[in-house]
């Protein structure tokens, strides 16, 4: 399941629901991405996430389908924030359920790498007295490229 959340969500509560919905799974991997409190030595107040309603969901759906086609997973949950996300708040939750741990770990890792480089989000960092759009990072592209090498 894919959900965009325009306000704060509770990753632990979501994970609990996901576990209950996948009671027969042998492995559940979850990842929570949060807004860092600092960037380049400056205090971060918030991250603003711009998105294209409808099309952003489709871009995430494409990523989830690639994961399902590649790994033997039972279920995946992706919750991604939009709008204003304060420092310390969760920005993304990825949960993957499978019979065994390896596909769950790998699919969750893949989903995060692709969410960072393929999902349609544009992020503006609000620092003290300054705002700036975040440019794509080479590290993120390198992380995503790992899945294309094999």
């Amino acid at each position: 399941m894919i959900r965009l959340a325009d306000r704060k969500f509770e990753p632990v509560a979501e994970l609990t629901k996901f576990e209950k919905a996948n009671i027969g799974a042998g492995a559940i991997v979850s990842f929570v991405g949060k807004v860092r409190g600092e960037a380049d030595g400056k205090k971060v107040k918030a991250l603003h996430l711009d998105h294209y309603p409808g099309v952003t969901e489709q871009s995430i759906n494409d990523i989830a389908q690639q994961a399902s086609a590649r790994w033997a997973i039972d279920d995946a949950l992706i919750i991604h924030r939009t709008g204003e996300v304060l420092a310390g708040e969760p920005i993304v939750l990825v949960c993957v359920a499978s019979a065994h741990r390896r596909p769950a770990f790998e699919a969750a890792d893949f989903l995060m790498d692709y969410l960072k480089t393929e999902a349609l989000f544009w992020k503006k960092e609000r620092l003290e007295g300054q705002e700036r759009w975040i440019e794509p990072r080479e590290d993120d592209y390198n992380d995503a490229a790992r899945w294309r090498k094999e």
């Binding site: 294209y52 989000f121 544009w122 992020k123 990072r137």
Partner: protein
């Protein structure tokens, strides 16, 4: 009227997300639209001409050669950012 949508830093440059414009007869494709935008606003034109910018026509990612008309929604998508 065509609806133009700008995302991320392009929205700041364009002075807002959504702009309704009447496409003139010589604007038949996204590439033509970029030329028309450049003539009106050089900074915005340069930004949307960048190779990293993708386009969507009626919510589907589309190449610059895609035909457009006055009923279409054309979106300009800068590269997504990791954060």
């Amino acid at each position: 009227m065509a609806r133009l949508l700008f995302f991320g830093k392009l929205a700041d440059l364009a002075g807002g997300r959504s702009h309704e414009i009447e496409l003139s007869e010589d604007v038949g494709s996204v590439a033509d639209l970029i030329i028309a935008l450049s003539a009106k606003d050089a900074a915005l034109g340069e930004a949307v001409s960048h190779a990293s910018v993708k386009f969507a026509v009626n919510e589907k990612i589309a190449p610059a050669a895609t035909a457009i008309n006055n009923t279409d929604e054309i979106a300009f998508l800068p590269p997504v950012s990791g954060g």
